[in-house]
């Protein structure tokens, strides 16, 4: 039975927005979606006018929709954002090479400049090589750490003020559940503090840290899929080939079952996060310092990416994800400081040349 749109009551509805129990037609849904993103940006002061914004683009639906919506909002409200697409090539054959083609398509469609950073250039390791050494069990740990630093480096290269990622409400809710189920109270505390707006590292301005924002944090994954479908946006829909074995899959499965019964569960989880307060010991923010090896911001003397890289170079990748292995690895890593500092400075010189020529 066809229903009328709850908003305009003129056109027939095409989509049910489950969390608000509203039936919307296409036009009203576009308006609802774009207004939600805009409201998030304005209320939480995520982006300022005139800033250079690096959009983490993987070619997937989230980053494609994010790039599209930011472009629309930029034109509509004249924010003068300088939007760039920033993509990371992890070196996963059969997955990343295809998705990079999609990112290049986005570059041409939306007429946004694109900058690609690769693991091979930064770390001399691709994810395929990492997985061949450590197996399929903890590869997401390596990829996550490397990707985070790669995005920071890429954003530095293009001199961006802000890095916008396509994390949506489902991702944040999954992360909360994941950290709770795994007993990772450090990450659970950080996600609580981030939601409460109280997570700030000290000396941020000293290190010129690039802000990370999530403009899609109030939007559901289903809404993103429907938006991309109705707008006929081109994106790469295949899951990472190493992802099925990730622990996150358990949290995702539970969340999807919960969403089927109670569509508002995801926004309720985010609301719960904002209500939680932590013990004083947990809420102490870490002091930011620079990694003595590569210069990136870290809470330790040597950043995690450098520790992982050293472990891989020495063929001890598995030790890096075990607590007992970290003690011996950290001692070994300090000995390699001078060698890699030279290579990083060489990489920076090459990249500066590339940026200035483009």
């Amino acid at each position: 039975m066809k229903r009328l749109c709850s908003h305009c009551e003129k056109a027939f509805a095409n989509i049910l927005v489950g969390r608000e129990d509203k039936y919307l037609c296409r036009c009203c849904f576009y308006e609802y979606f774009e207004d939600t993103v805009h409201q998030t940006i304005v209320e939480e002061c995520l982006l300022q006018p005139g800033e250079r914004v690096a959009i983490g683009a993987s070619g997937g639906k989230d980053s494609t929709v994010l790039a599209y919506v930011l472009k629309i909002l930029n034109e509509r409200y004249c924010y003068n954002w300088d939007l760039w697409l920033l993509s990371v090539d992890e070196g996963i054959h059969g997955y990343r090479d295809d998705s990079l083609r999609t990112v290049e398509q986005n570059r041409d469609d939306y007429k946004l400049p694109l900058y690609i950073v690769s693991y091979n250039e930064l770390y001399d390791w691709t994810m395929d090589q990492v997985v061949s050494q450590i197996g399929r069990k903890s590869n997401c740990t390596f990829c996550g750490v490397f990707r985070r630093q790669a995005l920071d480096r890429g954003a530095e290269k293009i001199q961006a003020n802000v890095l916008a990622t396509g994390h949506n409400a489902d991702d944040i809710a999954e992360t909360v559940l994941l950290n709770l189920l795994r007993g990772d109270h450090a990450r659970f505390s950080r996600s609580v503090m981030e939601e409460n707006g109280s997570y700030r590292t000290t000396d941020e301005s000293v290190f010129n840290k690039i802000r990370r924002v999530k403009p899609l944090k109030q939007v559901y994954e289903k809404e993103i899929v429907m938006y991309a479908y109705f707008k006929k946006l081109k994106y790469f829909a295949t899951e990472c080939i190493y992802a099925p074995f990730a622990y996150r899959g358990h949290a995702r499965e539970y969340l999807k079952s919960l969403e089927r019964m109670r569509p508002h569960s995801i926004s309720d989880i985010l609301y719960s996060l904002s209500c939680i307060s932590l013990n004083k010991e947990e809420s102490k923010t870490r002091v930011a310092q620079q990694c003595i090896r590569c210069g990136s911001i870290s809470s330790q003397t040597i950043c995690k990416a450098c520790q992982f890289k050293t472990s891989l170079d020495r063929g001890q990748g598995v030790l890096a994800v075990k607590r007992s292995g970290m003690c011996s690895l950290s001692k070994q890593t300090t000995q390699c400081c001078s060698e890699s500092a030279e290579r990083v400075s060489q990489y920076e010189a090459d990249s500066n040349d590339a940026a200035s020529s483009s």
């Binding site: 007993g183 089927r260 109670r262 989880i269 719960s272």
Partner: protein, 363 residues
Amino acid sequence: MVHSCAKCQQRATVYDVGGSKCDFCFQQAIIHNFKTTISRKGLAQFGDSVGVAASGGYSSQALVDLLGRSLFEREDGKTSRMKLKVTLFHIDFESPLHSSNSNIEVIQSLAAKYSFRLCTARDNHSCQQLWRETFERIAWKDFKDTSDFEELSRILVYRMIAFLAQSQGCKIVFDGLSAHSVCRNILTSISSGNGFAIPFEVSPADISGRFFDVAIHHPQYDITDRQLMRYVWIRKIDFVAPNLTLSRLTASVDSLTMSFLKDLEEQHRSTIPNILRTSSKVAVPLQFSYCSFCRVPVGSNGKLVSPLTWKIHDKKDNEEKVVTRLCKACQHRQRRMSMETFQLFLSSLMAFDKALEYKEDYG
């Protein structure tokens, strides 16, 4: 391959987290865990009058048996140092979730074994009145799934238990919640927007004061369902199995969450301790109020939830304005139910709370 008990080297029959154990050592470990929780968390003091919420399920039957053995048995033949006056409380009203007749028989046999008093809701006029005004009058078509039905039952049952305890002079009630049930409550609290209540859910002691003078503690919060089931089986204790026709896998949020936790625990054994440990890091808020419907503590990181004004009809059908505070879960519940049903529940529960607070009769 025959495993030996890690303690006494007898033949092991239980393969637990702490190592293989024989039946006797396993029971001793459970009793020790139980008594340690009561003493370390200060759940009860010497000579207290303690109530036990006995539903007839394996968890509450195990609780009654553990309490009985803790009070009366010691290995050296001397009487136990724990001295508590125990009364069992049972809600024996009929509902689609359980039939009370079989429940009362299993509870009576265990109560007789340890000479515990048994007090039922049918014998209490106020509880009868509440049941008549709420459950017997609601329209079942209002419930889209069993989640709301289970939650409403729980809301009523806890209040009636608190009322019964108060009428019998018990300020402490022990609940049979196991580690799995506590984790389930934590996850459902987060997923229903009641993350504020996490520190109250995870604590074995009732620190919320939600039922005024009566505190409902969970001395089995550290014991898993698997251990309780094993204990009940070894001791040959009768219990009433849950109604499986109504508790299908996806029938309710509670059953979905419980099955998810048990499946995950099969692959990752430390899931339950992880959840308990992480949740215990959440700070207990200093300032909070209570949801007028379900009595769950509500607040938001130091701020109180904004009150809502409702027009409800009292018993004489006079309309009056009441100020209420509703938690997120109850706000959603109100949208799912008809206004009439919700107001009926709300008015009855608020009047019952008033009677509980001022130690008066209800109805």
